[in-house]
Subunit: 312 residues, 2 copies
């Protein structure tokens, strides 16, 4: 029995992976998408997306993910709920091991995304979308005139905190240490900003909500003092975890464990492409991930054509 | 009277420019978009778009452009129908001259697009969308099992011709010379392909249509012989003209007159960004242009924040 060789296997069915599949499948490349979780990746957990271009009225992330999936399947892409445990290069093909089955492909598009690091405190998970956010660009506009806290002390926390001042009445940065890790220039900017306040040496112990977030419970790590802090929103910027462990021995990563790519989403391995939040310097928006996926798909189609020509 | 300084002026209201505007305006940057033609750029001339992720059913380019415009205006972006004649850097601002008025901005996002070079023959313009196309990735899927001609002899013509064999019954390359300009490896591939045929020393004189394209009239440039050639579709790849003349003395361009950018759509000039088909290595799809625009907008917002901080 001859084994099927896919023209491309796409790892991950978030916006990047699904957009890539729309293009590879429509381009008549036999396309398999492997996803271990729900379709849509991070977007599937988002209540209201109002900034994906083409939808002037807010749409749920679930609906957008479903639309992408239907579009990819319409052109013939196959989506399987499988967990990938290994990807290796074998001669001029890739072997993808998923649920202990070996699958073979001429090209692979990596679209595994990244997850924001969670605080892991009570009230966090259930309030995503009702007051807890990991993205100021995505959700800041929903907090016009409100008071929010930002958790974290690195560049991302301070940058996003500054961005939130565009909308919010006040932005209080809660940090576990007594000084920021962010670069000096960002620190200066934050200290000079009238809307930005600081609570030092403190961690969030709990996020308390009724229909929406109402307050956080803070603990001073030096005195162990517990304090309630009433608030409308909690923005958490304590890092991202790129889902790139799977490929760390296969492909070149940057210092943040993100996959290095060029403007065509090509990695350092011929036939291997990366797009969306798992690649270096991603803008981390649904639209930019979709654009990445389309670009990767066009590059992959060209690669598969070249491979076919060389084999003749 | 003090003059308004916009946080950002976006040049061009195609998918890249409108997507950028959605993000800058939603990010509370005062945003002006300048467009000399119809909203939507190239997409506004496209009858059916079936590959913009999020729309499983085909949508007209006009409708998609309108949706982007409404979304940008909803967040406060201002769109003016004006022709830009000059952009210059003035201290830490940009001066944009449009319809003889001087406008000032902290940042500028270039999204002027590129136009496919036309043949300029009778029947060409009126059949765009009914048999004449300038993009195989966009329109190839509409020609499954059909016979098409490709006009051109460079890399693009041969690459797109090869791509069209995925769908078409036959692909005939019509070239004005007796040999291709395309790279040797592409030539080898085309000559070896059973679906690809050639008509040498010939130019299209006219595209003849009823409801759809029916035939082309070819002229042999050596013998002046005129010949009808029945055909379902005409794909024209005789080059693109990037709309970058306006900025050729301002910003670094590549050999194809496209604007050089990095992964954040930053040009060599601080505060000046470029996205969509006017930038180097563009994938030339609505989705990739939209992704570019979003990325440029995020980079521009960051730049404007930094500028404000430095001024303090």
């Amino acid at each position: 029995m001859e084994q099927t060789i896919y023209d491309t296997i796409i790892i991950g069915a978030g916006p990047a992976g699904l957009a890539a599949a729309i293009y590879t499948a429509r381009g008549n490349l036999s396309t398999l998408i492997l996803e271990k979780g729900p379709t849509g990746g991070q977007i599937s957990l988002t209540d209201a997306v109002e900034n994906y271009p083409g939808f002037p009225e807010p749409e749920t992330g679930y609906e957008l993910a479903d639309r992408l999936q239907r579009q990819a399947e319409k052109f013939g892409a196959e989506l399987k709920n499988m967990t990938v445990s290994e990807i290796r290069r074998d001669d001029r093909q890739f072997v993808v091991v998923a649920d202990n089955k070996e699958l073979t492909a001429r090209s692979v598009i990596l679209a595994m995304g990244a997850d924001p690091r969670k605080l892991g405190v009570p009230g966090e998970e259930k309030n995503v979308g009702t007051g807890v956010s990991y993205c100021a660009t995505c959700d800041g506009a929903f907090f016009r005139g409100k008071d929010v806290i930002v958790v974290g002390g690195g560049d991302a926390a301070v940058e996003e905190g500054l961005f939130l001042t565009r909308y919010c009445n006040s932005v209080t940065i809660v940090h576990r240490r007594d000084q920021l890790r962010a670069s000096a220039i960002l620190q200066d900017r934050a200290f000079a900003h009238e809307k930005i306040h600081f609570i030092w040496d403190s961690v969030v112990e709990e996020i308390v909500s009724g229909e929406k977030v109402e307050k956080v419970v803070l603990r001073n790590v030096k005195t162990n003092e517990i304090k309630d802090h009433p608030i409308d929103g909690v923005f958490i910027f304590v890092g991202h975890i790129p889902n790139t462990k799977l490929v760390e021995d296969l492909v070149e990563l940057d210092d943040h464990h993100l996959i290095k790519i060029d403007l065509w989403m090509r990695t350092n391995i011929p036939g291997l492409f990366a797009c969306g939040d798992c690649r270096t310097d991603a803008a981390r928006q649904m639209a930019s991930s979709v654009g990445d996926g389309v670009t990767a798909a066009i590059a992959a189609a060209k690669y598969v054509d070249e491979l076919a020509a060389e084999a003749e």
